[in-house]
Symmetry: C3
Subunit: 170 residues, 3 copies
Amino acid sequence: MNSSPKASSPGSFPSGQSVNERLVSLGIELPDPFMPIARYAAFRRSGAIVQLSGQGPILQNGDGIFGKIGRELTLEDGVKASRITALNMLAQANSICEGDLGRIVQWIKITAYVNCTDDFFDQPAVIDGASNLLYEVFGDVGLAARAAVGVNALPMNTPVEIQAEFEVSV
Amino acid sequence: MNSSPKASSPGSFPSGQSVNERLVSLGIELPDPFMPIARYAAFRRSGAIVQLSGQGPILQNGDGIFGKIGRELTLEDGVKASRITALNMLAQANSICEGDLGRIVQWIKITAYVNCTDDFFDQPAVIDGASNLLYEVFGDVGLAARAAVGVNALPMNTPVEIQAEFEVSV
Amino acid sequence: MNSSPKASSPGSFPSGQSVNERLVSLGIELPDPFMPIARYAAFRRSGAIVQLSGQGPILQNGDGIFGKIGRELTLEDGVKASRITALNMLAQANSICEGDLGRIVQWIKITAYVNCTDDFFDQPAVIDGASNLLYEVFGDVGLAARAAVGVNALPMNTPVEIQAEFEVSV
């Protein structure tokens, strides 16, 4: 049985740097995690598997990136939006892991929805903004299975929404 | 490691009322669960985790709610549709649990697709119809991780489709 | 607790034929599995559960089926595209299982995205192309929980993308 490809030791880097130390050395500051404002949960954990609620490119100060890719937003705007979305995913994960992202054994899956025009076909390049951030921070542990699809509308007219699933050591 | 937020004892309420008794006191009558009409399964269970096939706002008598939100349907129509969709989810769950919904330990995740116009951005409010029903019936056990996205078309021109995942005691 | 409906012994048929022998007798030749070209994984496994990255109707020689159903593509084109997509899913699964598809205990879930016009409502019939292939090859083991939704755009303008999850014996 093949295991996940290129699996590295969870939450560590060859240098011995922890994931949270890695964040600091990358100059990445995590935002506060968003709390649900309706009858759902920010996340659910069953055994070692954590499911996050959908995240978007909304900043803590109320700002965010809004609009449709292929119309008022470019591919580059979308890449930036998916990177911010991934930062919000990490903020949730960091809270769940009580400040120790090294507890994440593997990012299992991300499902990414890109708000775009009918003739925009480069959803994968948009979502590379999120995937590259996960790889920068986690190394091979951050290589999740992935699907990226286009949609015609997203909440608050954001350009990107991502659902994520990861495994933690318990 | 943080557990799921506000976890309560599975399938019970402070009053000692069972989930199925709760349904009765809420005046909720479950429809018959829909059976697949093609080569797929109504649900799959692996260990304690159950995955339901996508459900929609179709009534047992063949009626249902049809149309696109933002065009011929309003937000309120969508809320009603997502509540009916959740009733169909409960009907499936009740059948899987052999009439004892108290076996559900937690609703883990719902992924909700809203058939809407390009300029409709309130998918979360539509899906509150389903999330509120889960909370009324299950309390904190019903607070699932959630994603809500817009789409341009759904099967049979229904306005809402929801995929759900829950954990049962085995 | 109800188990999955119509569960058969994993990876075997009454005739004693293995799944891979079945492929041969059906005249099905699996393509080579696609490798990710960005920072994500073709699949992730956690315990017995495998998650595949989204697959589409792309052929190994660079050809594929492209376009939107309801505009330049018909329902029949879509059925063919979803069957090819399922072949790519099987190619990934076969690689993960080191050439023994009989290790698959059950196909748990498929989430299918159909690139279509706003007035196309037969996404389930499109995805029957994939579901029927899974059933031909795996029998009841291939009956996954399923959701099929429409979307306005997919990567490379493909008409179908499918995310799949299955359980393996470990």
